[in-house]
């Protein structure tokens, strides 16, 4: 059964740390349900001889040699950070462990 319930949207919002108001939940649950329904139609088109596909390209084993390449400088790495301290990314208090 394709589709998504309001409860599932609320659960995802919580996992993503998004605070949604009741009317937003109604709104997004409806929209997401439509989107998922549209994507699910692919299953109607695919016959039994079409396996579930996670990659559109028939490629495997795309790898690189274990050779060091230049990194960003710490200054460049931190240039987009909203806050920093001791040359590290500074993040707000973390609630809940691990």
């Amino acid at each position: 059964m394709p589709g998504i319930t309001r409860e599932e949207v609320a659960h995802l919002a919580r996992l993503s740390r998004l605070e949604l108001k009741d009317e937003e939940l109604d709104h997004f649950a409806g929209q997401l349900d439509v989107i998922i329904g549209a994507v699910a139609r692919v299953s109607d088109v695919a016959d039994e001889d079409v396996p579930p596909t996670s990659h559109p390209l028939p490629l495997t084993n795309v790898m690189r040699a274990d050779e060091v390449r230049p990194s960003l400088t710490p200054e460049q790495a931190l240039s987009g950070a909203p806050a920093r301290e001791q040359q590290r990314f500074k993040v707000p208090q973390i609630l809940g462990e691990d």
Binding site: S54, V68, L72, T73, P74, I94, D98
Partner: protein, 502 residues
């Protein structure tokens, strides 16, 4: 937090049967990260080994490290696993700043290696087979520093600082099948398993697997069930138990804690727990139930990994001898007891001894020096014997100097001291410190005459036939030559001069 009452270990085992699951993370020793070309070298300044890929910047794309895949396959093979002919990476989604992408690239239901085993040997020589569920590839997380908390822990911290140098370093996670039937020996089995796995990883050369450096980390899952019951009890997961001793202690503690809760009619909560090195206890971390919703899905940015059969067979054929089999072979070759062999293993001296033998030393001499003087010095400086600034070739040279009579053991120890102090090759140390044994007849003869003259009573005893008393005169000779005399030759000269009857 409530104070944990424990029941005694014996009482716990009288009522319950422990079941364990061990998850070990191994940081591979590759030059670069799993999905980008950033260096993995330790000790860099914060965030110096980062790039758009490991910082999770929009538009960046991961590319798999070929050496990491090869290492994963070799680990799988050494654990007797089947190797997947086709498998994918998966995204493990979670909301935590140690991964800037907000997901970790891991493997979910398609691990690269699965269904193997590792035989581990316990203290009394019993071999216990631990089943391996799977070994899969993933990436390490960044390092958090929590600011404002009392002990640097997350508790009470007002904010946290992130260094992403470690984020993206290749990890292999090795998960056992449920370990049943160990009974009271469960803590010992857990420790022996991690120790054996560490040896195996080192023998493959895929990681130095140093636990104190976080290169090998263990999570201990444990549950109890009443004797005779098939179904497992609820488990706790003690995270980041990072020494062999801690693995044993954490397992033991959790057995006692679970038993206390269950015996008093309580229920075990499925949760992660933290191990405390100071007193060997664990405390509650996070309740798992609702947090564990990682929404795994196939990683769209990476194509599948499909190790070719012929390549896998090549890697299998090139595997080194497994550590346990090698130990058995060496034990037989060296003529050691189980106990002696375990001492060599625990001292970390197997490889240095082998290398010293390869450099020309007799096996017993190589073993004697590495297990004696060198083990002592390594212990003093808190390193492994192999890390001492002396090479197996230098040790072999010293044994050769002892064998040809140029040095005795006491002088050899001084040569070792000199080499360790950076005074150069053994021969140079002998030269500079004037350590050559005194065996030329003139100097030695003079020392012998002096010893006899200074100890007339002892000399008379020897003259009277008490050959054993000659030892005291040899001692006097050694003293006047500051230990540099050839003791055997000195004894001969003493006996010649005193011509004892019989």
């Amino acid at each position: 937090m409530t104070v944990t009452d424990l029941v005694s270990y014996e009482d716990a085992l009288a009522s319950f049967d422990p079941v364990m699951g061990l998850e070990v993370h191994v940081e591979l020793g590759t030059a670069t990260k799993m999905f980008c070309g950033c260096s993995t070298a330790p000790g860099a300044e914060p965030n110096a080994h980062t790039c758009p890929v490991c910082l999770g910047m929009p538009g960046s794309l991961p590319v798999v490290n070929a050496t990491a895949v090869e290492s994963a396959v070799r680990i799988g093979l050494a654990l007797g696993c089947d190797i997947a002919s086709w498998c994918r990476f998966a995204r493990k989604n979670y909301f935590y700043p140690d991964m800037p992408k907000n997901y970790q690239i891991s493997q979910y239901d398609e691990p690269i290696a699965f269904d193997g085993h590792l035989d581990v040997e316990l203290e009394d020589g019993e071999v216990f087979r631990v089943g391996i569920e799977r070994a899969h590839m993933e990436e390490d997380t960044g390092k958090s520093t929590h600011i404002g908390g009392a002990t640097g822990r997350i508790h009470g911290a007002v904010h946290s600082l992130l260094d992403y140098n470690r984020a993206g370093i290749p990890l292999i996670e090795i998960v056992t099948k449920p370990i049943e039937g160990a009974g009271a020996r469960a803590p010992e089995v857990a420790r022996a398993y991690v120790a054996e796995l560490r040896e195996l990883i080192r023998s493959l050369g895929v990681s130095e697997a140093r636990m104190e450096m976080g290169q090998l980390r263990c999570d201990v899952n444990l549950s109890l069930r009443p004797h005779g019951r098939e179904t497992f009890g609820t488990r706790s997961e003690t995270k980041n138990v990072n020494s062999l001793r801690s693995v044993e202690r954490a397992t033991r503690f959790e057995i006692q804690r679970h038993a206390a809760v269950l015996s008093s009619g309580g229920t075990i909560v499925q949760e992660t727990r933290h191990f405390h090195e100071e007193d060997g206890s664990t405390t509650s971390g996070r309740i798992k139930e609702e947090a564990e919703d990682y929404r795994y899905f196939p990683e769209p940015d990476l194509v599948p990994v499909a190790p070719e059969g012929a390549w896998v067979e090549e890697l299998r054929a090139a595997l080194p001898e497994l550590p346990r089999l090698r130990r058995q072979r060496l034990k037989a070759e060296w003529g050691l007891s189980d106990h002696e062999m375990r001492s060599v293993l625990n001292a970390g001296a197997i490889q240095p001894i082998l290398d010293t033998i390869a450099a020309g030393a007799p096996a017993d001499q190589a073993r004697k020096w590495w297990m004696g003087e060198l083990a002592r010095r390594a212990n003093e400086s808190g390193t492994e014997p192999a890390a001492l600034p002396i090479t197996p070739a230098q040790v072999a040279r010293i044994t050769a100097l002892v064998a040809d009579g140029s040095l005795n053991d006491k002088l050899a120890r001084q040569v070792i001291e000199g080499v360790l102090a950076g005074e150069g090759e053994p021969d140079a140390v002998v030269e500079q410190r004037g350590l050559k044994i005194v065996s030329d007849e003139g100097a030695l003869g003079a020392a012998v005459d002096e010893a006899i003259a200074a100890n007339p009573a002892i000399a008379d005893k020897v003259r009277g036939g008490k050959v054993a008393a000659a030892g005291a005169l040899v001692g006097a000779v050694m003293k006047t030559t500051r230990g540099q005399a050839d003791a055997g030759r000195a004894r001969e000269l003493i006996l010649e001069r005193l011509a004892p009857q019989g």
